[in-house]
């Protein structure tokens, strides 16, 4: 390991006891992953404020006791409770209190109280080529793929340790030679799809990339022309749920893939799977644990957190209100402030939509009636909620979910 002058200062305690302690972990980690040096880190996104037990809290309190402060801009991913609407939490009170303390302890270390899994939407947009220490699987894949910033799949703890030191190990996706596509996912006959359909196609592509490519970077060709940034967000989130995906290239859409040749660096990459229209519906059907027509108890949107453009798409659909079942939408508090400022928050409330901030409905106790199936437009939510919440789930496009909320059962647009 080549230590820089900065690294030596940190080890000597010149940057405080917490930084020295945290660098010990960063260096052990760097050694394990085969990095030969550390790089200056532009920003960190910390996923450690979701409470997974005493170990989560013990780690952060260790640095609070050492009077640690983060050395780079550091955003926080979702916590276990909605600090702005604490009344929404209906889980175990001791768990809620521990989760709240975990979120507060991170703020004491100087982290930005963003509590969103999508800091890249309004808050902290990295630049192309920035070296990051980001955690949270959707944020990682978005930063690498859609922005072209550079981070590995950092986990809880390392994200904060990098933030407390301002250093990140130089290996993997921090290096240009490791960012090229080594597999191709070829989609055909789908470029003309409409906006609503494109959402489902993105989720299906993501699930396949995760399943077929694992941690091999895939270049996806033939996505719909109208594929939006929100769709790429959904694609990445689905891919990171079904496989250990840290990065993908969407040819013609993402910054390091203006064409297939650039994405692969000119080397041969095998086509691992070809997808057509009829494959898409089969892949998406596998996400649902219930059949069409099944009664619903709720609709869950915003996993990853809903963007303002997704709210733009949802707003006209609210003309269908009143709905037979409640609609929950997760978003960031910065998006929530804008919705309040422009009057959309009131319209959402009037239509019976519950906006959840700081957390997410699939990781905590928010949805009040889980006695029946829940419908979602998120591949990630559909993938994890049955295990986390013990419920049945139906997957559909945004339009499907809103129509189903109206009908009180699973219907399709």
């Amino acid at each position: 390991m080549q230590l820089s002058a900065t690294d030596r200062e940190i080890i000597n305690g010149d940057h405080g006891r917490a930084a020295a302690d945290a660098l010990g972990l960063v260096l052990k980690f760097a050694e394990a992953v085969g990095a030969e040096r550390l790089l200056p880190c532009a920003s960190s996104h910390v996923d450690g404020c979701l409470y997974h037990g005493q170990a989560s809290l013990d780690f952060v309190e260790r640095f609070v006791a050492l009077e640690g402060r983060v050395k780079v801009p550091t955003t926080l991913s979702v916590g276990s409770v909605d600090l702005i609407h604490p009344e929404l939490f209906i889980g175990d009170a001791a768990l809620g209190a521990a989760g709240k303390r975990l979120m507060e302890a991170h703020i004491e270390l100087g982290c930005t109280p963003s509590f969103t899994c999508a800091p890249y939407q309004t808050l902290l947009r990295p630049r192309l080529g920035d070296q990051l220490a980001w955690a949270e699987s959707n944020a990682i894949v978005f930063a690498n793929s859609v922005i072209g910033a550079r981070t590995n799949r950092y986990g809880d703890f390392i994200d904060l340790a990098c933030a407390l030191t301002g250093r990140v190990p130089d290996y993997g996706l921090h290096r240009s030679e490791n960012r090229r596509a080594r597999a191709v996912v070829e989609m055909s006959g789908l470029t003309g799809a409409g906006a609503d359909e494109a959402g489902g196609i993105a989720v299906a592509a993501g699930l396949v990339v995760g399943r077929e490519c694992g941690d091999t970077i895939a270049a996806i060709t033939g996505l719909p022309d109208c594929t939006s940034e929100d769709d790429l967000k959904a694609l990445g989130a689905a891919a990171a749920s079904s496989g250990s995906v840290a990065m993908f290239h969407a040819v013609g859409l993402t910054p390091e893939a203006p064409d297939l040749e650039t994405a692969t660096g000119g080397e041969d990459a095998p086509v691992v799977i070809r997808l057509e229209q009829q494959d898409i519906s089969g892949i998406l059907a596998s996400l649902s644990t219930v059949t069409d027509g099944t009664p619903l108890t709720a609709v869950a949107l915003g996993t990853p957190h809903f963007s303002l453009t997704e709210f733009d798409r949802l707003m006209p659909m609210l003309d269908l209100a009143p709905f037979a079942v409640p609609i929950y939408v997760n978003t960031g508090r910065h998006e929530w402030e804008r919705l309040n400022a422009d009057g959309r928050a009131q319209r959402l409330e009037d239509a019976g939509v519950t906006v959840v901030v700081d957390t997410c409905t699939y990781v905590t106790s928010i949805i009040r009636d889980l006695s029946g199936a829940v419908m979602t437009n998120s591949g990630k939510w559909a993938y994890y909620a049955p295990g986390n919440l013990g419920i049945d789930v139906a997957f559909g496009t945004l339009a499907d979910t809103v129509l189903s909320a109206k009908a009180g059962r699973v219907v399709r647009a």
Partner: protein
């Protein structure tokens, strides 16, 4: 052997090979030590105290916290024998070592045939040191 030590320590136990990679977050319950991913072929299996063979990591980065918590609770595997290096699993085990002084060695074998051969053994000893990794059958 091209094996690498990711987290140091010594452990022994019964070998258990996962047919698919598992995300500890969302796929594993730290309270019971069981696989809870409904899509996983070994849904319901208990991993506590095993020498766990897994090709690679998968899924959410919160897996590190779940593994650290399981190590604290004593419900985690005794050691993890991966085919390829995995940063999330490494982190969870390093932090449990840092906070609680409990070793859950993690190694990457980096050779498919060797990994497969080891994964078929009923009982194993894992010795992961900075310079040397030893994975041997136990009676």
């Amino acid at each position: 052997m091209s094996a690498r030590c990711l987290v140091q320590g010594t452990a022994q136990g019964d070998g258990l090979k996962l047919d698919d990679p598992l995300s500890f977050w969302g796929g594993f319950d730290s309270a019971s030590g069981k696989v809870i991913d409904r899509f996983h072929p070994q849904h319901g299996a208990c991993l506590s105290g095993t020498i766990l063979f897994m090709e690679r990591g998968r899924g959410s980065s919160s897996g590190a916290s779940v593994l650290a918590e399981a190590i604290r609770l004593g419900t985690a595997p005794a050691a993890l024998v991966l085919l390829d290096e995995d940063a999330i699993i490494t982190t969870g085990a390093l932090v449990a070592q840092m906070l609680y002084g409990i070793d859950c060695p993690v190694v990457a074998i980096r050779n498919k045939a060797e990994w497969q051969k080891l994964s078929a053994l009923p009982r194993l000893l894992v010795k992961a040191g900075a310079d040397k990794v030893v994975v041997t059958p136990q009676p």
